[in-house]
Amino acid sequence: MSSAPQWKNPVIRWVDERLPVFTYIDHEYNQFPVPKNLNYFWNFGALAMIVLVTMVVTGIVLAMQYTPHVDYAFGSVERIMRDVNYGWLIRYIHMNGGSMFFIIVYIHIFRGLYYGSYKSPRELLWMLGVVILLLMMATAFLGYVLPWGQMSFWGATVITNLFSALPIIGEPIVTWLWGGFAVDNATLNRFFSLHYLMPFVLFAVVGLHVVALHVTGSNNPTGIEIKGPQDSVPFNPYFTAKDSVGLGVFLIFFAYFVFFAPNFFGEVDNYIEANPMQTPPHIVPEWYFLPFYAMLRAITFDVFFIPAKLLGVMVMGASIMILFIVPWLDTSKVRSARYRPVYKWLFWVLVIDCFVLGYVGAKPPEGVLVLMGQLGTAYYFLHFLVIMPIVGKLETPLPLPASISEAVSGGSANSSPSGMEKP
């Protein structure tokens, strides 16, 4: 099936015999067998890749006009918006691209959670994904500081101060991160340097992620492995075409925000220049951090000798770290929630819980919202630490189809004819 191609073009052949890049690309992106029942949720990895490239390209052009100095940063961004040719477009693409990246990756992650893509043999693939998520968060946080608006400054202050919760080493670490005694010019400079660096680290980890994917192959909506050639199709043209459809739809969505609602995801306060002497009345992080922010604030009480502040930071950290061990928390023998009558619903409860946490994170911590945040946080951990292991053991899964082919064309009651059923 995957025979080495015979390159007709002599130049290509000459290069390929010495450095087999063409054979590699042909093998991994042309002939690469993918399950023939992949639905549109399998578009989001490729979309994430395209957004990553978009961010790097627009970012490099922006960096040519931007000045990382506390006295000029805000002004230089306004100059980009008003004076630089197409500066407004490039900045709005980069700004909204960040939000798009998180929308895509969150869908990508929940896709994995629903179809059990993290289960053996894809544990490392999943864990690399969590590393990617962490790197993305770091990159987005650093980038948000650069325009040096009020939210930039106070967001940076609050988040770097999280480290001060650590006993003894906390304060020295914060001073070291700042390069001073407050978020200041030294901080802005290093954040610019690191914001430029991070995406390239991301590229490297995404590379490993894709290599790992090409070892195990893609999971699919049934969660059962490819059993023979009848279950798969070559990546090209089948999946390149399907990815292109998804890309078209995504670009329309993306363009809508860039051209018609460019500040939809932003905060008005960030159009006020940073003022280290005046905290805005209500600090909120970017939307993609809200559920985590809600968990940070949910802890308003000390537990034994651990002060509330440290505990809040620990809980927030744990909410992501827990994803690393999901492959071992899930005890179910069946991958896809499509065949898990109980877990299927609990999956959606988790999704709703994340939205509730996001809502709580956006509001001032008052009244019932405090309790909502605490319950939401408790449920989040309950899902991973209790529901996943126990439901996996107790639930009786539905009978699995014998093969992907049977599920798609064998008239099994569980699959829609198109194989594009929503989860």
Partner: protein
């Protein structure tokens, strides 16, 4: 290569010696690498010119009773409040209250009338409200941090909310009756 290491002549002694050499080389290499990393790490700490700005003098003359000013020290806001009789007695009265961080009002001031502290919430670093007359002062009549709802009393002690510690009192010295040096 592998044949040489497994040849009959290589005694157990040899293997032990080789392991030792490998370990010793690796250890020296690790120390060398670490000593190269340290300058890079330390370069990110506050530089000399940032440290040089570490003292300021403040004239307290123009401040009326019940008024506060905010000055900048090391890039941080310092609150200086000339407290009223009522505020002082409230602060002293609460010395015995159930405080998160036990500190007597007298230990937080050099002269009861003047409260000098770093205006940074000990939770996550926002600047509490309460310096201006129009701003909310929280449930204890001192300062209120809007970020996550920390309430400080008229001595700047944490009374309610997520912040773990009282507002920090910096090192300062009265130069004369009406001026101080911070730092």
């Amino acid at each position: 290569m592998s044949e040489a290491t497994q040849s009959p002549e290589s005694t157990e002694d040899d293997v032990g010696r080789r392991d030792f050499l490998v370990l010793a080389t690796a250890a020296v290499g690790a120390v060398g690498a670490a000593s190269f990393v340290w300058p890079l790490v330390d370069s990110m700490n506050p530089s000399a010119e940032v440290l040089a700005l570490s003292k300021i003098e403040v004239d307290l003359g123009p401040i009326e009773e019940g008024q506060s000013i905010t000055v900048v020290w090391q890039g941080k806001p310092v609150f200086i409040r000339r407290r009223t009789k009522v505020e002082i007695s409230a602060a002293v009265k609460d010395d015995g209250a159930d405080l998160r961080q036990k500190e007597k009002d007298a230990d937080r001031t050099q002269k009861p009338e003047w409260l000098v502290m770093i205006g940074i919430c000990t939770h996550l670093g926002c600047i509490p409200l309460g310096q201006k007359a129009v701003e909310t002062k929280g449930e204890y009549g001192g300062w209120f941090c809007p970020c996550h709802g920390s309430h400080y009393d008229t001595s700047g002690r944490i009374r309610k909310g997520p912040a773990p510690l009282n507002l920090e009192v910096p090192k300062y010295k009265f130069l004369d009756d009406k001026s101080i040096r911070i730092g």
